[in-house]
């Protein structure tokens, strides 16, 4: 632990005491924190992070791991209103099984996540439960292939 990660370590420690063993610290670097949690705890953890001051979602995405048969869903939260946290990007990761790609939406915690979740929905087929507009955003409405960012969707002529 170096000198310039004091704030970061403190944040993670606070979260850990609050959630005990339900969150795992992936890594803490200067300006970067990454934790992982289970899908069931995601909402509670997200709320706690929001209450720490991380008030915007800068990115929400997923990654497909066909070998492990799971999706990693990641939320990257930033803070714009509290000056000392502005340098930190807070990543929350969770994994969901590929055969049941469903996860609770975080729209009521971070309204800024609305379009990101729609994008993840159309690109990976992950359904965000209780999202009011779980519909296609960027892809054509008549898209009838599998979600394109999954690894088993192959580009013609590239594989």
């Amino acid at each position: 632990m170096s000198k310039n990660t004091i704030t970061e370590t403190k944040l993670v420690k606070g979260l850990k005491t609050k959630f005990n063993k339900q969150i795992t610290e992936e890594y803490v670097e200067p300006n970067r924190i990454k934790i992982s949690t289970s899908p069931t705890n995601l909402k509670a953890v997200a709320l706690a992070i929001k209450e720490l001051g991380f008030d915007q979602i800068i990115s929400q995405g997923a990654t497909d791991y066909p070998d492990d048969n799971l999706f990693r869903v990641e939320y990257h939260a930033i803070c714009v209103s509290i000056k000392k946290f502005r340098r930190i990007m807070f990543a929350i990761m969770t994994t969901i099984p590929k055969n049941k790609p469903e996860i609770e939406t975080l729209l009521d915690i971070w309204p800024s996540v609305e379009f990101h979740e729609q994008e993840t929905f159309e690109n990976f087929g992950i359904t965000f439960l209780n999202h009011p507009r779980m519909e296609r955003l960027l892809l054509p409405e008549d898209w009838d292939d599998i979600p394109p960012l999954r690894k088993d969707f192959s580009l013609p002529g590239r594989d």
């Binding site: 995405g61 990654t63 990641e74 714009v80 502005r86 971070w110 955003l137 892809l139």
Partner: protein, 368 residues
């Protein structure tokens, strides 16, 4: 005339994608008289799947590929990619390269803001304000071209440094251009920004309150126009922005006029930054040459930078192959889009262009 009964005297207007004021983008507006009661943005007309295509290209090939979404701010979108790739490839660019990157980033910010200003002028019906910034933009394009080699798509920043050094005499030409352009900024203010008609169209129009801007995830100049002093160049300095003295223009009002003024002040700001960079730069190597095929260690990195439209975010996952395993781009236009329907509802139809373009929404960037 075919009138679809919406109940009462409501009318549904499809603005775009075939509309002079929309770009490659549609917004479905429901009108009650002259007031907009519902606005539903419909992006995706220029979706190319840049993220998927990036998984089929090497780290170098991805640079020209990933600058396509926003070619008017090419360095703005390639610089964060290169910074992320450098974290994965574990290379550190030399000092001079960092400075040249800053020059290019700020030149691109000016080019992009001038383009925005020109379109904003014509959106308000001010044709002179369309021609002047478009003409003056050429001067900055010439400067950037002398460094990057092409007019807009430079592909100039590469992992390990920059492609080539800045040419001789660049400093003199840049300073001369800045001197001229500072005079022009005053003329812009006289003819456009201080024009009472322009102010009557923008002051108090499309007010984005501070708490809403934070809540909705608004970023970049739009956020700063709502009174939040947040800029990645200050918050989490990359390159050598921590060695440069500059202030971020912030306006409290949050209306269209404030968003215009933030961008106008940023033009001046960017020129000041380039001046300081030119003074601080020392001769030296410009590239850390990477031999062979670039392969990162398995792992991931995420980086954000301040592009012209706001914070640009990259998240790259590598599994040690030649190609990145996953590239996630979060572009500012996409995040600002959420503010559009928020701002349009309740405003007049005639205010739609004044609000729409004050957000500096770039459909191609948002669609990726």
């Amino acid at each position: 005339m075919q009138v679809v009964d919406q109940g009462g005297d409501k009318m549904v207007l499809h603005v775009g994608p075939q509309h002079p004021g929309s770009g490659h983008f549609r917004i479905v507006i429901t009108l009650d008289g002259d007031y907009i009661i519902d606005a539903k943005p419909d992006p995706g007309y220029v979706h190319r799947g840049a993220e998927k295509m990036a998984e089929y290209r090497t780290y170098i090939q991805n640079i020209p590929h990933l600058e396509r979404p926003v070619i008017i701010d090419a360095t703005g979108i390639t610089l964060p990619y290169v910074l992320t790739a450098e974290k994965i490839l574990d290379v550190e660019p030399p000092e001079r390269a960092q400075y040249i990157r800053m020059i290019m980033a700020e030149l691109n910010r000016i080019i992009s803001h001038l383009y925005w200003l020109a379109i904003y002028g014509i959106f308000l019906g001010h044709s002179t304000m369309f021609m002047w910034p478009m003409g003056d933009r050429e001067l900055f394009i010439d400067l950037a071209e002398s460094i990057g080699g092409t007019r807009v798509t430079f592909s100039y920043v590469v992992p390990g440094g920059v492609r080539n050094d800045i040419p001789g005499g660049f400093k003199e030409r840049a300073l001369k251009t800045f001197q001229y352009f500072e005079k022009r900024i005053k003329e812009y203010e006289e003819i456009f920004f201080n024009n009472p008609l322009m102010q009557s169209r923008t002051v108090g129009i499309g007010i984005l309150k501070k708490q809403n801007a934070v809540k909705l995830g608004i970023t970049g100049p739009n956020l700063r126009a709502s009174g939040i002093n947040s800029d990645t160049r200050k918050d989490e300095p990359y390159c050598f922005y921590n060695k440069i003295r500059f202030d971020i223009p912030v306006y409290k009002e949050g209306d269209s006029y404030a968003r215009c003024m933030v961008r106008l002040r940023e033009l001046q700001q960017s020129m000041d930054i380039i001046r300081q960079v030119l003074d601080r730069m020392k001769p030296g190597p410009i590239k850390h040459v990477i031999r062979g095929v670039m392969r990162g260690e398995p792992g991931e990195a995420f980086v954000r930078t301040e592009a012209a439209r706001g914070t640009m975010f990259y998240h790259i996952v590598s599994n040690g192959e030649r190609f990145p395993y996953r590239v996630k781009i979060s572009v500012p236009s996409f995040r600002n889009l959420i503010g559009m329907s928020h701002l349009l509802v309740g405003s007049r139809l005639a205010d739609m262009p004044a609000i729409y373009w004050s957000l500096d929404y770039w459909p191609v960037e948002a669609d990726k």
